[in-house]
């Protein structure tokens, strides 16, 4: 069935509204002019090149990468066993555990950041980088638990019970039987967690210090002072990076089945 004219028109307008701004940002990042404008004045790669020379962008990019990769790995290390306990064991207080673990999704990030700063960082003298790392881990934990739980629910539990009957230890059954089968779910959780953490602003707003800033917070600060296309260039680069990761995951593993 092909679309009738009004439906096709509505759909085109919606897609234009959703994608258009992104295309404008991409076009603006190849501008030769000195201010952010559309249509771009001429063509050059100078703003793309400039992104790599801004010292604070380099620093905050590394910070954001460490937070996104490290925080998500720790969240998975905590979340996978928790998800396993909730799906395969008669866990006491299972609902309470589920609520506590998934609460960070419901509470606005800015409050998490402020609370950590005021009641953990300042009174305990915790380094701001550690606080930032823990906050990003807590933020990703609900996604890790939820996606891995979904993946475990799709895996029949009698195969690991069979492995145990055949003499495997419970730990052995987990690593030999369960883990290879939920690999895709874990990867999906990792990508979802990575993107969430990398793009997160409110949690990191208050948890910044000299030389410690995540990339999006740094971009927000930069665009308040300088109105040139370098933020546009950086945005396009980041967008292509995250699209590349998601497309690769989709192509090789069928990522979308798990989300």
């Amino acid at each position: 069935m092909s679309l009738r004219f009004p439906a096709a028109l509505v759909l085109s307008l919606v897609i234009l509204f959703l994608i258009g701004p992104f295309l404008i940002i991409v076009a603006a990042s190849f501008s030769a002019g000195d201010t952010l404008a559309f249509p771009p004045q001429g063509f050059s790669l100078k703003w793309i090149a400039k992104v790599f020379t801004v010292e604070s962008f380099r620093q905050s990019f590394v910070t954001s990468m460490i937070l996104a990769i490290g925080g998500t790995l720790v969240a998975l290390a905590l979340g996978v066993p928790a998800a396993y306990a909730m799906s395969r064991y008669r866990l006491p207080f299972a609902e309470t555990v589920r609520t506590i673990v998934s609460a960070p999704v419901i509470v606005p990030g800015i409050i998490v950041g402020l609370a950590l700063l005021r009641y953990v960082v300042v009174p305990m003298g915790m380094p701001i980088t550690l606080a930032l790392f823990l906050a990003h881990t807590a933020l990703v934990l609900p996604y890790a638990v939820r996606v891995v739980s979904a993946s475990l629910a799709n895996l029949r539990s009698d195969i690991e019970e069979a492995a145990i009957l055949l003499g495997s230890s419970r730990l052995g059954a987990f690593f030999d039987i369960v883990l290879p089968n939920i690999r895709g779910g874990i990867l999906a959780a990792f990508i979802l967690g990575f993107v969430t953490s990398f793009n997160q602003v409110p949690v990191s707003l208050f948890l910044s210090g000299p030389g410690v800033r995540t990339l999006p917070v740094d971009m927000l600060g930069y665009m308040e002072i300088v109105f040139d296309p370098s933020v546009a260039a950086l945005s396009s680069l980041l967008a292509f990076l995250s699209m590349g990761i998601v497309l690769a995951a989709e192509r090789f593993l069928g990522f979308s089945r798990y989300v």
């Binding site: 919606v14 959703l18 701004p21 992104f22 409050i111």
Partner: protein, 275 residues
């Protein structure tokens, strides 16, 4: 199903303890601080907060924008989801991909684009001037309209995706059946489609509404320092005035509103599907 309770606790506790210590306890202290005044526990900070006209304005603006964005995204979402669901499989997949594409792009970048479009020398003003409709550039940035547009663009994909999955579960022949029985399109929507896709609408609505209430980036970039929403007000109270009591009050308002929305919509979904 394994029966060993200790083993289960051993597996689940690290995550629960981590979330409790890093997250629940500090947030609970922050929220409780909003009930503290020099004389002891009281609601005085709340009276003080709501007696300021600026705070009232910001509170109602946040609520209003949240409702507007949710309502408009529901209307557009149904139209778009209908169109996408009736496409053949291949192009349907591509369209869903296009709708989800913005979700992978940093919200900072997505919001930043609106400066180029809505700014004084932006595309909209150039077009209006070119058509001879305006003499001087009109001010669209740093207004509620700009925030509305930015929020809508940010959250519309979530509504469309939720409605697509709801519409895909709609039994194939209900719409043609209603049509044969003489219903017009409005009746079909109200009496057939809406009741059967309510759950998707509720899920999408919750995501959009709570997302809009707790947005920071969009009002920060498109509202500027004058047109505040609750999150930007919170940030300003803390950084400009070191005012942690107001921050606690705003935090509690935000937490209560997003919890209440989740509970209320969950209730609506279950009650309506039962009848």
């Amino acid at each position: 199903m394994f029966q060993n309770r200790n083993e289960a606790l051993l597996l689940a506790l690290p995550a629960a303890v981590f979330a409790a210590v890093i997250f629940l306890v500090p947030v609970a202290i922050l929220l409780s601080e909003s009930f503290r005044s020099p004389a002891g526990w009281s609601l005085a900070p709340y009276w003080a907060f709501f007696s300021e006209p600026l705070n009232q304005t910001v509170f109602w603006r946040t609520l209003k924008l949240g409702l507007q964005v949710t309502a408009v995204s529901a209307v557009i979402g149904y139209a778009a989801a209908f169109a996408i669901v009736s496409l053949p499989a291949g192009s349907k997949g591509r369209m869903i991909g296009l709708v989800m594409l913005p979700l992978m792009i940093s919200p900072v970048a997505r919001t930043y684009a609106w400066i180029v479009i809505l700014g004084r020398t932006g595309i909209v003003n150039q077009a209006l001037h070119g058509l001879g409709l305006t003499d001087a550039p009109i001010r669209i940035l740093f207004s509620e309209t700009a925030i509305f547009i930015g929020l809508l663009q940010l959250f519309l994909p979530l509504m469309i995706i939720s409605l697509i999955s709801a519409l895909e579960n709609l039994p194939r022949d209900v719409v043609p059946a209603a049509r044969v029985l003489g219903a017009n399109w409005l009746q079909i929507f109200w009496k057939v489609v809406l009741p059967l896709t309510r759950e998707g609408l509720v899920i999408g609505g919750t995501l959009v509404f709570t997302g809009s209430l707790t947005a920071y980036i969009t009002p920060a970039i498109l509202g500027g320092s004058k047109v505040l929403m609750l999150e930007t007000l919170l940030y300003q109270r803390v950084t400009v005035a070191n005012d942690f009591v107001s921050a606690g009050v705003i935090a509690l308002i935000l937490v209560v509103m997003s919890f209440a929305t989740n509970l209320l919509l969950k209730r609506i979904a279950t009650v309506r599907t039962r009848t």
